[in-house]
């Protein structure tokens, strides 16, 4: 496919039988064996996802911390070295430019952003004052996510230091011998426990082959593509940029108030304070649909015959074995089990609101 970037795992994907698709300017694996198969394997065992398309930005210099504090909705001062925080980057009017994970290292900060928003964010950052040194490490590094109930036990056996000692949203820089350095983050986007690993491009395939060739218990690890990643995150109630999150949506309406600190100063805070003061108009909610048909992004949500909202994501849930969706509805209709209807392409789907997430892994507190 012309003009598309390839990750260091491109040859691996082809050998593993992936069907490649264009995604945010990258040639990425949609699936290997099948979306449902890969989804269920992640819930039951462990999968490895190539997420090298995601943007990786390094911030250094004295202004890095105050700059990121101004750019991000989350109060990063509350994080310690070795901790990662999910945050939004907003426009002045509170519209979401991207959702990111910001990690505090000893002498620098690291941001993982959406592939489709990387260049937009870099341009946005450059319009502000006191910009620190920002290095785009996206094509110099690789990133994989290893997710599933067996992911952490597996990683504990193969990595030099145990991942099980890391708290959620914490990370550690590890080394093999002296040559190979990589960072292991206890985070993910599937609703499962697991880790995300960033390493240099040269070590990437060594690591992938090592992980996948492991014998015995480790043979459970299988590759999974973007298709399963999408249905997994939907079940876990996690928003996706371009669907639940856009520049026309604010983080409070998106249900991300926990990632917004209205007490600190940042770009967009004035608008978000006004929105919070006035009360939300609409809110993101889950929807469970009766019958076999799925809702899709863009379909209208109706109460009776009245147009009240819009679907942002929808699919047949492989775990629940019924169609699930996420959409925006007026706040007074967002309480769980509110009956609503969805205007499908050829008919009406009966649905009811449902609290997110649809799926919580056993033992998970939040």
């Amino acid at each position: 496919m012309p003009d598309l970037k390839r990750t260091p795992f491109y040859d691996f994907h082809l050998k593993a039988g992936a069907r490649m698709v264009a995604y945010a300017g990258w040639e990425m694996p949609l699936l290997y064996r099948g979306i449902i198969d890969e989804h269920l394997h992640t819930r039951a065992a462990a999968s490895i996802f190539d997420v090298s398309h995601m943007g990786r930005l390094k911030f250094t210099g004295k202004t890095a911390e105050p700059f990121l504090q101004r750019m991000c909705t989350r109060n990063l001062a509350k994080g310690t070295v070795g901790q990662s925080m999910y945050s939004l980057v907003c426009r002045d009017d509170g519209g979401i430019l991207d959702d990111v994970i910001v990690s505090r290292f000893d002498n620098h900060w690291y941001m993982v952003c959406n592939a489709a928003n990387r260049e937009k964010l870099l341009a946005w950052f450059a319009t502000h004052k006191d910009v620190p040194t920002i290095e785009d490490e996206t094509t110099k590094t690789a990133m994989v996510a290893i997710q599933g109930p067996k992911a952490v036990p597996l990683l504990d056996e193969v990595l030099p230091e145990p991942v099980s000692d890391l708290k959620r949203y914490h990370f550690e820089v590890m080394r093999y011998m002296l040559m190979i350095q990589f960072t292991v983050f206890r985070s993910g986007y599937t609703g499962e426990d697991g880790a995300e690993i960033i390493c240099g491009t040269t070590a990437a395939n060594l690591a992938m082959n090592y992980l996948l060739k492991s014998e015995g218990e480790h043979a459970i690890l299988k590759p999974a593509g973007l298709g399963a990643r999408d249905t997994l995150r939907m079940e876990a109630g996690m928003p996706l940029y371009g669907h639940e999150l856009t520049e026309e949506v604010d983080p409070l309406s998106a249900g991300l108030e926990w990632a917004v600190d209205l007490q600190k100063e940042f770009v967009g805070v004035a608008a978000l304070r006004r929105i919070a003061q006035a009360g939300l108009q609409r809110r993101a909610t889950g929807l469970l649909i009766d019958g076999p048909r799925s809702a899709r992004q863009g379909m209208a949500i109706l109460q009776g015959d009245k147009h009240v909202g819009v679907i942002t994501s929808g699919a047949m849930s492989p775990t629940l074995k019924r169609p699930i969706a996420i959409g925006y509805v007026p706040v007074d209709l967002a309480a769980p089990e509110t009956p609503l209807r969805i205007a499908g392409a050829t008919g009406i789907l009966e649905a009811a609101t449902a609290a997110l997430p649809f799926y919580k892994r056993p033992g998970k507190v939040r």
Binding site: R19, L30, L31, G34, I35, I36, D37, H39, G227, D230, T231, P292, R293, S294, R296, A315, M316, P318, A345, T346
Partner: protein, 125 residues
Amino acid sequence: MAAPNDRKYSASHEWHQQQGDVVTIGISRFAVDELTDVTYVDLPAVGKKLDAGKRFGEIESVKATSELYSAVAGEVIDVNDALKADPSLVNQDPYGKGWLIKVKAPGADLSALMDGAAYTARHGE
């Protein structure tokens, strides 16, 4: 894998197999692979009259919903009820057990459609 040559293919990826007055319709392996795992197939009732080139149903996968088109006019005389219980038959066997509908279409002219070789050349099955 080449598309079988015992049927004809439309640009919208439905195959049409003519046996006497009856045309059986399904979708190609290429289309099935594009769709990913099929989760639901919405098919017309027996007795429904179809127009050539018009939509007769929808097929849903985990990923997307797509429309189904018939290249022939006629009356639906059978639908594949097995797909209600197991829509993944379309993935497993698109040219066999995953057929969709049978249409009574005496004298239907399929000559404008692609044969298996032409369809394979176009979509590299």
